[in-house]
């Protein structure tokens, strides 16, 4: 082929690619898909780098998906005047994150730790792998990766189809309803409207998702299925005491540097909450955690304003309820035992 023909081939390819990109983006937007960021290690690392703000200007959150949905960051920031740095990771035990912050001598700020018992009290490697990978990525992030992630985030802010977890080839193949082999685990794909993530790592479910009872039921069934599949006996006895010791060591380190730590238990409902209560009785786990570590805790059941939320899919609050929950959380923390969690400027 002559170079002229190659040039024509290149022009045709560019035209087809541009036509595809525009059509693909419009297709997903026409289905009501919002812009959502990949909640990956690069986005987490971007937030992790923000923890060194002065303690009167920010609060760091660690935990699993619940606090990502249940904390409404705009509400928190509006009420407190402080930045909320969301470092929680989906499906993850936050204790490695707690230890990472405790081992960072530069971190002297305020920390809120979400306790979702089946994850928080899970010592299996699966529950910690994302946290450890995120920490590793942050520590070893190259200048090239930092620059790439800036460009990537700028693109993700404008194109719906760039959310890898939902619209990549892999995700679309996962969506195919193929009968899977017997005895082989395949992580079930979540409904697309269940999780939308902002640049600040705030996660929320869409109105379309909440309006679609089939999708909500599907997500609920996924939680129940995963719960059965990864059901491990709760840790007890010496193992639990050693675990408390490990956590106390981390919280003490932060407190000794002038930092503050609070544990929060966010709402859940239905069989999921009943199962959690049965497996992890409050007096054995939550109460002991607070007393062993001498740390303040905010349990959703203790505030009448947050005690009776109904989670659409049993595990996470709707965006509207997240605003109410956040308002109550700020109120509780500002009137906390032993003084306000916040600096005097905030009342």
């Amino acid at each position: 082929m002559e170079s002229k023909s190659f040039f024509k081939a290149g022009v045709l390819a560019l035209f087809l690619v541009a036509a595809f990109v525009i059509s693909w983006e419009l297709f997903w937007r026409s289905k009501g898909a919002p812009v959502s960021f990949n909640d990956d290690e690069a986005l987490w690392a971007k937030s992790r780098a923000e923890i060194y703000l002065p303690s009167d200007k920010s609060t760091v959150f660690i935990g699993s998906s619940r606090i990502k949905f249940d904390l409404d960051i705009p509400t928190w920031e509006k009420l407190t005047g402080e930045k909320a740095i969301q470092l929680s990771m989906v499906g993850t035990n936050p204790v490695p994150l707690l230890e990472d912050l405790a081992d960072d001598p530069e971190f002297k700020g305020k920390l809120i730790v979400d306790v979702t018992e089946p994850l928080f009290f899970s010592l299996g490697p699966q529950a910690s792998s994302s946290a450890l990978e995120g920490i590793e990525y942050f520590k070893n992030q190259t200048p090239s990766q930092k620059f790439s992630s800036k460009i990537n985030h700028a693109l993700e802010a404008n194109f719906v189809f760039l959310e890898e977890g939902k619209y990549s080839v892999t995700a679309l193949l996962e969506d195919l309803e193929l009968e899977n082999r017997k005895d082989v685990f395949r992580f079930p794909p979540f409904p697309k409207g269940f999780e939308v993530t902002n640049y600040n790592r705030q996660t929320f479910m869409t109105q379309d998702f909440m309006n679609d009872s089939i999708q909500v039921q599907r997500q609920t069934a996924i939680w129940m299925g995963l719960g059965k599949l990864f059901k491990t006996p709760p840790i007890k006895g010496d193992t639990l005491q050693q675990y408390f010791t490990r956590i106390k060591k981390a919280t003490d380190k932060i407190k000794e540097r002038g930092g503050k730590v609070v544990f929060v238990r966010t709402p859940a409902s239905g069989p999921m909450e009943a199962g959690t209560k049965a497996g992890f009785p409050r007096n054995v786990y939550w109460d002991q955690l607070l007393s062993f570590t001498s740390t303040q805790g905010v349990h959703y059941e203790d505030d009448p304003g947050t005690a009776s939320f109904i989670c659409p899919e049993m595990s996470h609050l709707s965006p509207a309820d997240a605003i109410v929950y956040t308002q109550h959380l700020v109120k509780t923390l500002s009137a906390g035992q032993g003084g306000s969690f916040f600096t005097p400027k905030f009342k």
Binding site: V21, T142, L162, L172, F185, R186
Partner: protein, 497 residues
């Protein structure tokens, strides 16, 4: 930086404009290329650029002295200086932990209770590649095959040329240094060819290796127990495809990028899974490494000049060290040993030179190539019928897959367990979901079929003969698949070597 990253796209666009669209003096353009190459490397880990500088300065100075010095002892001393520096760096960074681990095992086996602290050594990206590239300059100087490079700038660029710096192709001085002598910019044909190859290389890496095959390979090689034979084989086939697409994809990108700025790099892969026999395989797989090993190690050890036994010993030694080049682990040594054994067996059964007319001794590159070509036993038996040739190629593919088990396994227990599963020696559990079975099966069939159809041609030759709109559609398909894959930051497997 990775070719499959946004950082590289920005870097490359700026470089393309500076190199092709400005009328800067050639020396300035070369300086730009050198600085760009250092930047390309530094964004991984800036301090490791010092290693590149050290290697460049020492080899430039030593190379010149080697060529002009006459005394045998002095020349040998100079060679040792270069070897100690280059191989010393490689030994420390790549093999330090491995050597210490084996020394500890040996000491404990001999009754000494020796427990050293575990070293924490970060491997500089691509150190094996640029070490081999600078070594061949020094060795060529020692043998006086080429004259010393006068321009330090050109030599530094030869060591550091970013398209092939971290994962090859490993380029000989005679292939690249002359290209720096005359001003080069890409003409329209080169630029388009380069962009097409870059698209193809990224498609191979991002879509085929990372998106289609990485997960099933990881699932199988990461399994803690025995597997069903189906799962074990599909996992190995997945890795077989993954490593080809990953590494050949990198080489294709490198060749394409170099073409976009007016340079030419040698081919590194020629459809290796259509190889008939292992010598044919090594003429198709990582060609620049296999030719390096042949010219600087195998022939250096004596090649086939000292009788059959020494020839086999040299072949084995070359492949064992070739295995170790890939990684500091005994599993890589076994991988090399298997390839060496297959090559020896082939050599035993190959037709006598009198029958084929092939040369007996290696005195030139062409002759050596002919010898290795003739070492493939299969053509003598199967050249009459294409179907039989295909089955011979499949037998080679089968054996190559067996060797990949050792290459990919983290330890021998994983390798033995997987081999046991592959050959039905143990009961096992399924691990691959249906979607991954489909992915591996489709990609493997397409891969083998493509290699077979393309085994005597090249992508560019086929593109030249194809209608422009077909090329345009294929090109668009690759770019769209790339965009849809959205994996922008996975490292190339060969970086760790």
């Amino acid at each position: 930086m990775l070719f499959n990253s946004y950082t590289f796209i920005v870097f490359f666009l700026i470089l393309l404009v500076l190199h092709n669209a400005t009328k800067l003096p050639w020396k300035i353009k070369k300086t730009n290329l050198l600085l760009a190459s250092y930047l390309f490397y530094a964004v991984w880990n800036p301090p490791f650029v010092i290693l590149l500088w050290l290697s460049t300065v020492v080899d430039f100075v030593v190379g010149k002295k080697l060529f002009h010095t006459e005394g045998k002892t002095k020349r040998r001393s100079l060679l040792v200086v270069s070897l100690v520096l280059n191989l010393g760096m490689l030994a420390f960074f790549k093999y330090g932990g491995f050597l210490l681990e084996n020394f500890t095992l040996l000491a404990n086996a001999m009754g000494f209770n020796y427990q050293p602290a575990k070293p924490s050594i970060i491997l500089p990206v691509g150190i094996s590649f640029y070490t081999f590239q600078t070594l061949c300059y020094t060795l060529d100087m020692y043998k006086k095959r080429i004259t010393p490079e006068k321009s330090f700038l050109d030599f530094a660029l030869f060591v550091t040329f970013f398209p092939q710096l971290v994962a090859g192709p490993i380029v000989r001085p005679a292939q690249l240094l002359p290209q720096f002598k005359t001003p080069r910019t890409a003409n329209a044909a080169q630029l388009l060819k380069g962009l097409f190859l870059l698209s193809l290389g990224l498609f191979m890496k991002v879509v085929m290796a990372d998106t289609m095959l990485a997960e099933p390979a990881d699932q199988v090689f990461g399994a803690s127990g025995s597997l069903t034979a189906l799962d074990a084989w599909l996992g190995v086939l997945a890795f077989s495809g993954q490593i080809f697409f990953d590494f050949a994809g990198y080489s294709t990108c490198a060749i394409g990028i170099a073409a976009c700025i007016g340079f030419s790099l040698p081919d590194n892969f020629r459809y290796p899974y259509a190889a008939i026999g292992f010598s044919d395989f090594w003429r198709r797989w990582h060609i620049t490494l296999s030719s390096w090993l042949r010219d600087y190690l195998y022939i250096g050890l004596g090649g086939n000049r000292n009788g059959a036994i020494r020839t086999y010993a040299n072949l084995m030694m070359t492949m064992l060290l070739g295995g170790l080049w890939h990684g500091a682990s005994w599993t890589f040594v076994v991988w090399g040993a298997l390839h060496g054994s297959f090559l020896c067996v082939e050599r035993m059964f190959r037709p006598k030179p009198a029958q084929t007319g092939a040369v007996q001794e290696e005195t030139s590159m062409e002759e050596v190539s002919a010898v290795i070509k003739s070492a493939s036993f299969a053509p003598a038996f199967f050249q009459k019928r294409k179907v039989k040739l295909f089955f011979a190629a499949m037998l080679t593919f089968f054996l190559v897959n067996v060797t990949w088990v050792f290459f990919r396994s983290n330890d021998f227990s994983t390798a033995w367990r997987l081999l046991g599963s592959m050959f039905g020696l143990s009961e096992g559990a399924p691990v691959l979901p249906t979607i991954n079975i489909i992915k591996v099966t489709v990609v493997t069939i397409a891969l083998v079929a493509t290699h077979w159809v393309m085994r005597n041609t090249s992508v560019m030759e086929v593109a030249q003969k194809t209608r422009w709109w077909v090329v345009g559609v294929v090109w668009a398909f690759m770019l769209i698949a790339l965009i849809l894959s959205q994996k922008s930051s996975d490292s190339f497997i060969y970086f760790q070597f």
